[in-house]
């Protein structure tokens, strides 16, 4: 029943986004400190690079690139799920506080657990998930009212409150800690992507490989969440069960990602919103565009962040916020 011209439009947009991602990747690798020049890229990929080119490409730039693409996709998908469940275009794992919950759990883990580097990487998404899930449950309890259900504006306000309180807690926790640990947490809060090595990709990948297809299969249910709850019940959907499972998926995606990338907000807000604007509210059409859009936006933000203000650059999370905050305000004003 989906109009066929829309399906064609979706294919074209997917193709354009893939092209944009590839082009931005080439530029990202070709500019800035420790880069591989564009004309040397193909020889290096084919294994004909110098030792330095090989090292830069395979050990520094490629893993970072993959992490960013995966993180952008996961954050965008998490946002799309949250927007569907709350029937609220303002929902984003960062805005409603889930990221901060993950961050706090990571900070506690980082400060108080003896760290063995090997296991640390693979434990991170799990620790982040526990923190994020606990936060999500609290936010849900605080913003859910028995008569009106989940009020969208209420949810955002409670979420922002939680997000600030938890970030504050992180700062308090760090006040007694050693300098290097403080640096880590400050960087995390700013969304400075730090987990840019192959093990981090391996830590992130299983979550994404399972949760992406699962969410896509649930497109039909997500569509029905777009209608008021009684309609979903009338159609014979297990509204409560589906909501809890999908909420856990959204939390897991966001938590696994931010455990590696730090607190990045607004990707989950912008990517689904732009995708819906392009092809409409059907999840089976806009979810693929959402994840590609998320990947591309984060890639662009990271490339800008790394090359502006030499030599250190500015954290990716801050670049995303500079683009995302005005977008959020625009949506907020429009949603009255």
């Amino acid at each position: 029943m989906i109009p066929s011209q829309l399906i064609r439009k979706q294919r074209i947009i997917i193709f354009i986004l893939l092209l944009l991602i590839i082009m931005t990747s080439i530029i990202a690798i070709g500019v800035g400190s420790s880069s591989v020049s564009i004309d040397r890229l193909i020889p290096t990929i084919l294994g004909n690079g110098t030792f330095k080119e090989d090292f830069v490409f395979f050990s520094i730039r490629l893993p970072r690139l993959i992490i960013i693409v995966l993180a952008g996709m996961a954050l965008a998908l998490s946002g799309a799920i949250l927007q569907a469940l709350t029937r609220n275009d303002l929902a984003d794992p960062g805005i409603i506080g889930i990221n901060s919950g993950a961050g706090l759990a990571i900070a506690v883990f980082f400060l108080f657990m003896p760290i063995e580097v090997e296991n640390f990487v693979y434990m991170l998404p799990v620790v982040a998930f526990i923190g994020a899930m606990a936060t999500a449950i609290l936010i849900y309890i605080f913003s859910h009212q028995r008569k009106t259900g989940l009020n969208p504006i209420h949810l955002v306000l409670v979420g922002v409150g939680f997000s600030m309180a938890l970030s504050g807690l992180m700062v308090i926790l760090t006040s007694g800690a050693k300098n290097e640990k403080v640096d880590f947490i400050a960087n995390w809060l700013a969304g400075n992507i730090w987990g840019t090595d192959w093990p981090f990709i391996l830590a992130l990948l299983p979550w994404i490989l399972i949760l992406f297809p699962y969410t896509y299969i649930k497109s039909h249910q997500l569509n029905i969440f777009g209608m008021s709850e009684p309609v979903g019940i009338g159609l014979g959907m297990h509204v409560e069960k589906e909501r809890i499972v999908l909420l856990m998926v959204a939390v897991a995606l966001a938590a696994a990602t931010v455990s590696v990338t730090g607190g990045i907000v607004f990707i989950g807000l912008m990517a689904p919103h732009i995708a819906k604007g392009l092809v409409g509210p059907r999840h089976q059409l806009f979810l693929p565009i959402t994840i590609l859009m998320g990947a591309w936006l984060l890639l662009v933000a990271d490339t800008i962040g790394r090359n502006i203000l030499q030599p250190e650059g500015i954290p990716t999370g801050i670049v995303v916020a500079i683009i995302g905050a005005p977008y959020f305000i625009y949506l907020l004003l429009r949603s009255k």
Partner: protein
Amino acid sequence: MFRLTANDLTVGYDKVPIIQNLSVTIPDKQITSIIGSNGCGKSTLLKAITRIIPYEDGSVLLDGSQIATMKTKDVAKKMAILPQSPDSASGLTVGELVSYGRFPHQSGLGRLKQADIDVIHWAMEVTAIIGFKHRTVDELSGGQRQRVWIAMALAQETDIILLDEPTTYLDMAHQLDILQLLEQLNKQEGRTIIMVLHDINQAARFSDHLLAMRSGQIIQTGSPGEVLTKEMLRNVYEIDGEIGTDPRTGKPICITYDLIKQKEQHNNEKKIHSAI
């Protein structure tokens, strides 16, 4: 035959019972309307019967099985619900929204089979919205949109359809239009229709069976002639009404009414006037 019954039903929000020990049977293949004043529990009854809100005690039976223990998809194959002022994501076409009615009959990814498409087509034809198939729901007027929702309920292919105030927010012409559509579905397609209505004259005109409610209890049931009486109006709405016969339909009709308090005041004023 009664396929849908409620026994000793108690429903409440926050432990304040709105409905207490209510029992009712819904006659098959007829139009039943629930009437009553604001806050009497008529919408709550409909929501409890349709499992939109849980009930605390008692049971709702559909074909002899408790609704609470049935698979929700199986319930959705037997009864469709049109809630009060439903809404959908903007940008969906009429055809797509109607196709969502197939949800209980689909499995897995929700692909539509040819049989599903035929039913969707039929539902749009019966409700005379086939011409808007490719338009988005947002572009339609209130009356047309209500037809789309009714088509979605029809696409569920259920024998029973429940509607919560289907004419709210519509103008007089569109109210009649929707009620005539429901009458047609009842007469031609044999659907059992249960609805909550505010307008007692419309309820009397289009229903075979009326349920009059007051403070969580059904206080009167029967044909419009039996239920729409001076006494019922006083008991249920606290109004003093004149009942006549609709010259066109032959159904009972409330021609005019006063609030009972006002009427006393009116009489007092008359007395004062005559005394002077």
